[in-house]
């Protein structure tokens, strides 16, 4: 049985002002898998990622045409709820961006803004549980359980990034978008996060942008190769790496440019 499609993209064009950043991109992203997006700088992979949870809306002068469907309904439909979309499709950024508050408050941020737990004792316990579970899922609980109420900015870069992952998980999303989540981290932190991805894909659909070809090879189930705003090749990881259909993919993967 083929895996269910979580996000379906067809004929996606995107312009920043008069510059076209994406050209007729089409891809079906499978549920509970890791899709890696690779390609040289400025090829459109991050732009594509940021289209999926409509973070590009924040940039002035962006124009989008084409279809992006999340679980069968268009995310650009007039009635589409962007807040709900971003709750369902969480995002981890290139640079760890914890808020200048405690570890606990960082993770509790999402549940709090989405309104459920109040200050009642039962709700506080529920919030404690969400925070603990999210940190556990992000493989960070052991390292921070004694300093939950210390400033998050005191953590190391790798811990901060896992905190950002925990912060997203606390909202109980369905899809995780990751924009080069390990490019600012040392090798040990990187491997921790890669191991974490293996765990997370059992429950979440993950789309990850990476500059690191080995990383794409190690963690992903499918790879999309972007070049000049086009999705040149999109196929299972093994095929892309060992039997690329497009000459440009082959050239990029064998390190002839990029």
């Amino acid at each position: 049985m083929p895996p269910a499609v979580k996000i379906s993209v067809r004929d996606l064009d995107l312009w920043y002002g008069s510059v076209q950043a994406l050209r007729k991109v089409g891809a079906d992203i499978a549920s509970r898998s890791i899709t890696a997006l690779i390609g040289p700088s400025g090829c459109g992979k991050s732009t594509f990622l940021r289209t999926l949870n409509r973070m590009n809306d924040l940039i002035e002068g962006v124009r989008v045409e084409g279809v992006v469907e999340y679980e069968g309904s268009s995310i650009f439909a007039p009635g589409a709820d962007v807040i709900e979309l971003r709750k369902r499709i969480g995002m981890v950024f290139q640079k760890p961006n914890p808020f200048p508050m405690s570890v606990y408050d960082n993770v509790a941020y999402g549940p709090r803004i989405h309104g459920s737990p109040s200050r009642r004792a039962a709700d506080r316990r529920a919030l404690d549980e969400i925070v603990e579970r999210s940190l556990e899922q992000a493989a960070l609980l052991e390292e921070v359980k004694d300093r939950l109420h210390k400033p998050a900015l005191g953590l190391s870069g790798g811990q901060q990034q896992r905190l950002c992952i925990a912060r997203v998980l606390a909202v109980e999303p369905d899809v995780l978008l990751m924009d080069e989540p390990t490019s600012a981290l040392d090798p040990i932190s990187t491997s921790k996060i890669e191991n974490l991805l293996e765990e997370l894909k059992k429950r979440y659909t993950i789309v990850i942008v990476t500059h690191n070809m080995q990383q794409a090879g190690r963690v992903s189930d499918a790879v999309g190769f972007f070049l000049h705003g086009e999705l040149v090749e999109y196929a299972p990881t093994k095929e892309v790496f060992f039997n690329p259909k497009d000459k440009r993919t082959e050239a990029y993967i064998s390190g002839r440019f990029g």
């Binding site: 973070m55 807040i83 969480g90 640079k95 961006n97 508050m101 803004i113």
Partner: protein
């Protein structure tokens, strides 16, 4: 070649001299203020000066207690902040986060003009409008704590607005995106992430405005009532430290004159303390921004 080097040296020397001049100016102002004011404490104990409300410098048995004026200054300044902070903060948030370009430019221009209006004009406005409104709303003369605070609030608004806007703009974009990507609304992002991240800078702005209010003389003199007594409630007449100096300066002699310099010392110490707090707050906000950038 040699001549050019001499010219370079000369310019450098000139700049160093100008820099030294500003330090010297501060030193000399402090020195003379203390030289002229401190001798009062040989005759009047410092505690009496600070904690007595008896201000009768020309009586046969003169009293030099400035407690009423200290309280007056703090009251007027504090109340002005109660008015100015919520408004200034809101306008700053609006300018930094919400306003359309064209409209925000209009507001910014207006705020800059507000900052440039001479204080005597604020005083005239106070007499013509604020005191009158106050009189018809609460009775009495219309001159007092409330009128002075309202005028001061308007005068400190530009400072608070500017610093709030600048501090909010300095919050790293990553934090804003992080919050929005979690499904926060723009408003939640502002209240829960941006303002707290900018709080040291905003606090510095508020304290800066406080310093301005504390040192303001002319505008409060025109609408404060200037009765040398402890203010009787929020609409009572008030004399601040600055008003005390300016009112008696024209005719004071001997110990009386010295007491005005001593009043100046007290004001100076207040301002110095506030500046210190500002510098500490700003230093902390800078290091906070670096930390937030995830170095």
């Amino acid at each position: 070649m040699k001549r050019r080097r001499i010219a370079e040296r000369g310019i450098e020397g000139l700049l160093v001299f100008c820099g030294a001049l500003s330090i010297l100016a501060v030193l000399f102002i402090t020195l003379f203020l203390f030289l002229r004011g401190a001798p009062l404490f040989k005759k009047v104990p410092l505690t009496e000066f600070l904690f007595s409300t008896r201000w009768e410098p020309t009586a046969a048995d003169p009293g030099y207690g400035i407690l009423s004026f200290i309280v007056g200054s703090l009251l007027v300044t504090g109340l002005s902040l109660v008015f100015a902070v919520p408004v200034g903060l809101s306008v700053g948030v609006y300018l930094a986060e919400l306003a359309q370009q064209r409209f925000s430019r209009a507001i910014r221009t207006a705020v800059e003009l507000l900052a440039g209006i001479p204080s005597v004009i604020y005083g005239l406005f106070g007499i013509a409008v604020i005191a009158g409104l106050n009189r018809s709303a609460f009775g009495g003369t219309g001159y007092g704590v409330l009128s002075a605070s309202i005028i001061l609030a308007i005068m400190t608004l530009p400072t608070i607005i500017n610093v709030t806007e600048v501090s909010l703009r300095a919050v790293p974009r990553e934090l804003r995106e992080g919050s929005l990507a979690l499904g926060a609304t723009q408003w939640q992002t502002i209240i829960r992430v941006l303002v707290p991240s900018a709080r040291s800078g905003i606090a510095a702005g508020v304290i800066l405005g406080m310093g301005r209010a504390l040192g303001e003389t002319m505008a409060v003199l025109m609408v404060g009532g200037n009765a040398p007594i402890m203010p009787k409630g929020l609409n009572g007449m008030v004399r601040t430290l600055t008003m005390n100096i300016i009112t008696d300066m024209s005719y004071a002699k001997d110990d009386h004159l010295t007491s005005l310099f001593a009043t100046g010392i007290v004001l100076f110490v207040f301002i110095l303390a506030l500046n210190l707090v500002v510098q500490i707050a700003l230093k902390r906000s800078l290091s906070g921004a670096e930390g937030a950038a995830g170095a």
